[in-house]
Point group: C2
Chain length 443, copies 2
């Protein structure tokens, strides 16, 4: 019979749901605390989301941006990991209902992160492509490469165009980076791999509802980014919203229609709250109201950190902190310190966000970055972007593999991982004695 | 409308089915020949099968042993690739029926390779795990890692044992290498990743129907291999056949039963002949009878090379050449030369196999190798094994990534790629405008 089998302990148990930036930083911060740390995640790895777009565009292998959670904590004695899907919080009994059985907690920390937000548009949700998980990025890679293969099998321009047009929605860092990567594919890879392909039929769009791309950065940065994107051939449409999409025709707010079979949606994210929280803690955007020490409103021992938490203690951010890695890491660390202090009978210190800046890469030798009042662009920003991302990637092996891929790509103008992994008739699919019923044994 | 869209040419067209070792060596050998080379493969990459077992055991990322076929031939002017599944050969009209339409040929070359052979045992075929494709290797990795995760959720020894027992069937290089890799997982990875796991319940078996492992090599080599395997804790059973398997209980010919949920089958392969060949060319083992210049019996312009071809012109190999990479590479090259000679009005030279030796790795610092009358074992053979495999791997990027993984593993006793890639609720699955109908857009 399946049971969580978490060893009993006299120490208070802190259960963390989610092994993203917030969750692992919290678990690390509790390394020497007199608690039992239980981390739950539906996957067995920590995902470095900022580089997902490179997996989707055949620049990096999926394995190089994922790091096994057990590996991160193998030297942490008070740490226990279980691969589990949480279904419900039972606050009265202080237990979590999961697919591997009930798990008791003394302190519960939600670090469940965010998912793609289609703002209720069902038609778009059905046909557009989100990119928040590793498998989505691999599927995008497969899908994109198949679009190229299939374009070769068509004669009519009207049939080829929607296959070769790629539309990014959302002018934030993800949209900008994806659009840049597609422009690089078109310039450096496709002419060599597909000399027969009518590349003049291929358009790359970036659509932003607001007045400028990278709205979170300075106006000058937005202007430079726009100029860079246009220089490499991306068609940027600002002040333009997506009205409708049926998988083939994309209707814009200005009345224009773009024919495309590939709509990549990075126009918004929403929190992933769990069932069982107090009604008045839940927000329409899927986030959870927390006070300035990340305690969920209306609870005494449930915390939320990272994307899922909406904290309103900073005038600079009247709608809560941005849903980015930096906030998640800082909140995880801070909550770790606060829990330790509280266990010793001390108080908790309110969270204070230190904005370390932001950056986005546009393409080869092109990026923008802002930190400590300095604005960089071009080659220097691009190098800074790479260094920051390499340093933050977990694991020495991953760092090296990513560095090799980047060096190789830079020197050869090639992308190594453009393979289509198909499901095929693999016989192991039939093996099904898995606990994780909802999830068959297929990758 | 879908059509192959292969440009018309005045030159004779050589259609090669399969981008394995035989297919790509043939296509390369035709680089300067006055022919149009059309390569068809169901995947868009060449797979380096000898390292599949390392993907299955979390030692290498899948992308590092696959190389995009378009990349290999991007400088070959007379080369055209199409991702296609061949359904039938229409010999009267000299066309191939494929899922992307009919394709005309002047010369047809079958290089379709081999697949797992369960020798007609349906029950075993249903429950055992084969390993011939990249997706199978990834699925094995997912499956194996899940066995460990799930073992933690059980209390009864009787439930845990079948999850932790791994049985390899077939004492050839694949079985030996898999068994060795599992022994390394047990020794170096599992104690750190799963300190709670009752590893004393875990057994690794290698089962061989014949009297010795690595039967293709010298008796002394078999003895050394056996000793090495036993030293690292693999239970080797020779002269033992698999009688029956229901997914949980494995019945052996000696009457014993092993409880296991993981039966990895590498006890045999069979050719993958295509429909439409002359009846008398087809052999029960799925291979195709060819003469000494690889011409398929009963045809005038259809050739077969590599695993699929059974050629009986060498007394050392009364059942045909072994189904290994070396034969495939040599036959591909030779047929390329023969076709060129024949187009110039010359004759074809009979194929002669040059045995360059064989090798198998057992684990850290342990391998066996035989070539040019020399027998190596231990550390030297292990280094030789790595060098040979690295040199034969296609692509500079792949070589570097594999080298880094091996160095990392050697120095840290760690394996970097032990992540479980689940399918999950990825929304792109719904996108279905794929030509490749049989194969949804999932990896």
């Amino acid at each position: 019979m399946i049971q969580p089998n978490i060893p009993d302990s006299d120490l208070p148990r802190v259960v963390i749901v989610g092994g993203g930036f917030a969750g692992i930083n919290l678990a690390k911060a509790l390394k020497r605390a007199p608690v039992q740390v239980v981390l739950l995640d539906r996957n067995n790895y920590h995902l470095f989301q900022p580089l997902l777009y490179q997996v989707a565009t055949a620049g990096l292998e999926p394995d190089s941006i994922a790091f096994p959670l057990r590996g991160i904590f193998k030297r942490q004695k008070n740490f226990i990991f279980r691969m589990a899907e949480v279904k419900n919080i039972n606050r009265e009994q202080s237990t979590l209902e999961t697919n591997i059985g009930d798990i008791r907690y003394n302190y519960l920390v939600l670090a469940t992160g965010s998912n793609t937000n289609f703002f209720g548009n069902k038609l778009i949700e059905e046909h557009a492509i989100g990119m928040k998980s590793l498998i989505e990025a691999v599927q995008i890679r497969n899908y994109v490469l198949k679009q190229f293969e299939e374009s070769l099998l068509l004669k009519e321009e009207a049939e080829i165009r929607p296959k070769l047009n790629f539309v990014m929605v959302g002018g934030g860092p993800t949209g900008v980076e994806l659009a840049g990567a597609f422009a690089e594919l078109r310039k450096y890879i496709l002419p060599k791999d597909y000399p027969e392909l009518p590349l003049h039929l291929m358009d790359i769009y970036l659509i932003e509802a607001g007045p400028r791309v990278l709205a979170g950065m300075a106006e000058e940065t937005s202007r430079k980014t726009l100029a860079s994107l246009e220089h490499i051939g991306v068609k940027v449409l600002t002040n333009t919203a997506v009205k409708d999409y049926d998988g083939k025709n994309l209707l814009l707010s200005n009345g224009h229609v773009i024919e495309t079979q590939s709509l990549l949606w990075s126009a918004g994210v929403k929190g992933m709250a769990l069932a069982g929280l107090p009604e008045d803690a839940l927000l329409p955007n899927g986030r959870v109201n927390v006070n300035d020490v990340n305690l969920v409103n209306g609870t005494g021992n449930i915390f939320a950190v990272g994307d899922i938490a909406q904290m309103l203690n900073d005038k600079r951010f009247p709608k809560g902190y941005p849903m980015v890695a930096q906030v998640a890491m800082q909140q995880g660390k801070q909550l770790g310190k606060n829990l330790q202090s509280s266990l010793k009978g001390g108080g908790m210190k309110p969270f204070k966000y230190t904005d370390l800046g932001s950056m986005a890469t546009i393409g080869r030798n092109r990026a923008v970055a802002e930190f400590a009042g300095i604005r960089l662009s071009g080659y220097i920003a691009w190098v800074a972007w790479m260094i920051v991302h390499l340093l933050n990637l977990l694991g020495f092996r991953n760092k090296l593999v990513v560095l090799i891929n980047w060096s190789y790509r830079y020197l050869t103008y090639d992308r190594g991982t453009r393979i289509i992994i198909k499901r095929g008739a693999a016989n192991i699919v039939k093996l099904r004695q898995s606990v994780y019923q909802a999830d068959p044994l297929t990758p």
